[in-house]
């Protein structure tokens, strides 16, 4: 520890001996190589997105051209227009938004009280409840989709936008509960108690003290719920026939659709997710950190 501390506090004016110079050079070299690696990984993630964006904003001739160029010149929205004007795409987009918003509302409304209970109360059965939630979280949606589709068919809920939302809520609820409980856990219980000491009712203490502090975290979790629902394709495909969500429609028409349609569709699905992830990026690690415990 001491040698490291000393080398760090060595004043610049003091001449470095050869050993120190070499160490410094090694350090810079290491830093540079880590940078190179970081950029390489970033390119690995961004390049495919750039390439599909290029296609989404190229002319039809360029979409089918070979060899390909990596910038959309001439730039055109014709391909995106073609996709958005394709029969049913706008309706499907609207369906997707409705499903995702309903899922967000259902999931958050049910998860907030549950998350509060798990983070604030020590009650018999708390650990079992947490365990159940964790187990449910890990379960494959593929298993739920088939019986729910059959049941919804019997109940007359089949091919309805809200039935997809009910399904997606089952999918997102456990994650949302865990995330919300971690958000509550980050607000010290003493804040609430202090408000109570000064005469606030439990509800008032919650609304005036806790809620403002947890709101950003809960909003982040709600956005993540939205993204999960927006992206979900398997259950949405099984549960709908005419009222398809966007991913379900794109998947269903995949075998008959042109490359133009597929690239524009792929890009169109990517954009909202990228924007939302940008807004909640600071919360992602807290969210998933909690889930691993």
């Amino acid at each position: 520890m001491t040698s490291a501390a000393q080398s760090r506090t060595t004043p610049r004016s003091v001449a470095l001996d050869a050993e120190q110079k070499r160490a410094l050079r090694n350090l810079r070299l290491r830093r540079a190589s880590i940078y190179a690696l970081a950029i390489l990984i970033a390119v690995w993630i961004l390049a495919p997105i750039w390439l599909i964006a290029t296609m989404a904003f190229s002319t039809q001739a360029d979409v089918y051209a070979y060899p390909k160029q990596v910038v959309p010149v001439p730039f055109t929205t014709a391909t995106m227009d073609f996709f958005l004007n394709y029969a049913g795409i706008l309706d499907a987009t609207l369906n997707s938004v409705i499903v995702a918003v309903l899922t967000l509302v259902f999931s958050t409304t049910i998860a907030v009280p549950a998350g509060y209970a798990v983070s604030r109360y020590l009650f018999p059965g708390r650990n079992s409840y947490r365990l159940v939630i964790l187990a449910v979280r890990a379960f494959p949606i593929v298993i739920l989709a088939v019986p729910l589709a059959v049941t919804f068919l019997q109940w007359g809920l089949y091919d309805k936008v809200y039935s997809v939302a009910l399904m997606h809520t089952a999918l997102t609820l456990p994650t949302t509960i865990l995330v919300v409980s971690s958000v509550f856990a980050s607000v010290p219980v003493e804040f609430e108690e202090a408000a109570r000491v000064f005469g606030a009712s439990p509800l008032r203490a919650f609304v005036r003290v806790v809620l403002p502090l947890v709101l950003p975290g809960i909003a982040a979790s709600a956005i993540f719920t939205f993204v999960m629902s927006w992206n979900e394709v398997f259950a949405a495909t099984l549960l709908t026939v005419r009222n398809r969500t966007l991913p379900a429609l794109i998947l269903y028409t995949l075998n008959k659709s042109s490359l133009q349609f597929q690239y524009a569709g792929g890009f169109f699905m990517l954009v909202p997710s990228m924007i939302f992830i940008f807004f909640i990026r600071r919360y992602l690690f807290n969210m998933w950190g909690q889930i691993t415990k």
């Binding site: 990984i41 599909i52 070979y66 298993i143 088939v146 609820l173 509960i177 490359l259 691993t292």
Partner: protein, 379 residues
């Protein structure tokens, strides 16, 4: 955690979530097993005396010959006020379990030559019931796509997971180095968290298709002279490569996030101590970081494995689902009422149950392996 005396409040707070999960999780789970293992059947209830509300003495299976030992004629009033004759027969036959059953049944369940004279009849209908069966499971296992789907899913798992974990740990360590601009890297590395499997599949179609970017680059570099058709039925291995790359691209971020939060819980002193004693990066990784990361890696491993058994849209986007098939696609194909599907929810449910089973088996194996290692280490 401050409140310790018994309190009903927490139970009321978790109640809605509990009810929801019972309705939309536990119940469909049971229904799924029922779909996979039960089929609709008909059996004929035989009664102690004439009348639909009489006690049932036993049940007879369909399509057997029964002896008529007695008959009784009664009148039935139709909605229009007229009456018509209705016969009840006392019949004797052998049940599925081989027992002799004798009692009364309505004529509508039987096929008789003459209602007044015949001494035997055939059982033609009965009441709907459920019977346990392995038919759907057999149908799944004997389907020629089953082994293909299972092996492809497992091959993908074996190929994807090691790459994914190596890359995720690298990404996490790069972020942990706290470079200038690391928040930008953090965002970029997190982007795939929000990318759907379908979108990811389409992104990689753009690269691997015949007139796509991979061929463009390879030709520019002079490796090939004309575009190579990667995604064709003759090139299954290239399809696998494309799926692996798309999955690594899309689903590594989630492992990375779990590893990063695991790294954050490792005290800095441990790493500094390692550095102080001159341990190389590899030594620190091998002897300090990885052992301390084990709980996080275990969680990520279970999560990724379960997700790998559900790989679906990436495969459909890149291969159309026909040349290369996976378990989730077979589930979809058996359920789908459209042109490519068989519209048999029972076999689809059998597939779903199978996916659940292997997910459970793998999770238990992972948990046990890690636990025995820990026990070994502590003794």
């Amino acid at each position: 955690m401050a409140k310790r005396k018994f309190n009903i409040a927490p139970y009321l707070l978790i109640l809605p979530s509990f009810i929801y999960l019972v309705l939309f999780f536990a119940w469909p789970m049971g229904r799924s097993l029922q779909l996979a293992f039960q089929k609709d059947a008909e059996i004929l209830p035989v009664r102690t005396a004439v009348g639909d509300d009489m006690d049932v003495v036993g049940y007879l299976p369909m399509q057997i010959e029964v002896a008529i030992t007695d008959r009784e004629r009664s009148e039935e009033t139709l909605p229009n006020g007229r009456t018509r004759p209705v016969y009840w027969f006392k019949i004797a036959g052998e049940s599925e379990e081989g027992e002799q059953v004798e009692g009364w049944v309505n004529q509508k369940y039987l096929q008789v030559q003459s209602r007044t004279e015949s001494t035997s009849a055939r059982v033609v209908s009965g009441e709907g019931t459920q019977e346990w069966t392995l038919d759907y499971v057999k149908r799944m296992v004997n389907d020629h796509n089953f082994m293909d789907a299972l092996t492809t899913t497992l091959i993908l798992l074996v190929l994807i997971l090691p790459i994914q974990f190596a890359l995720a740990i690298t990404m996490a360590l790069v972020l942990q180095a706290r470079l200038k601009g690391s928040t930008i890297f953090l965002y970029i590395y997190a982007i795939p968290l929000g990318i759907s499997d379908l979108a990811a599949g389409l992104v990689w179609v753009n690269i691997f298709t015949q007139h796509g970017f991979l061929n463009t680059f390879l030709q520019r570099l002079g490796i090939i002279d004309s575009p190579y058709i990667f995604l064709s039925a003759e090139n299954k291995h290239w399809m696998i490569v494309a799926i692996v790359l798309a999955e690594v691209w899309r689903a590594t971020s989630i492992v990375m996030v779990i590893v990063v939060s695991g790294l954050q819980s490792i005290p800095d002193e441990y790493l500094e101590a390692g550095q102080l004693f001159g341990a190389s990066l590899w030594q620190r990784l091998r002897h300090i970081i990885l052992p301390l990361l084990r709980p996080s890696l275990q969680v990520a491993l279970i999560l990724r494995t379960i997700l790998a058994f559900q790989v679906f849209a990436v495969v459909v986007a890149l291969t159309g689902g026909r040349v290369i098939t996976v378990l989730a696609y077979e589930t979809y194909r058996w359920y789908d009422p459209g042109d490519s599907g068989f519209n048999n929810p029972h076999v689809a449910a059998a597939y779903a149950g199978f996916i659940m089973l292997i997910s459970l088996v793998f999770s238990v194996v992972y948990l046990r392996t890690v636990r025995t290692q820990e026990q070994g280490a502590s003794t």
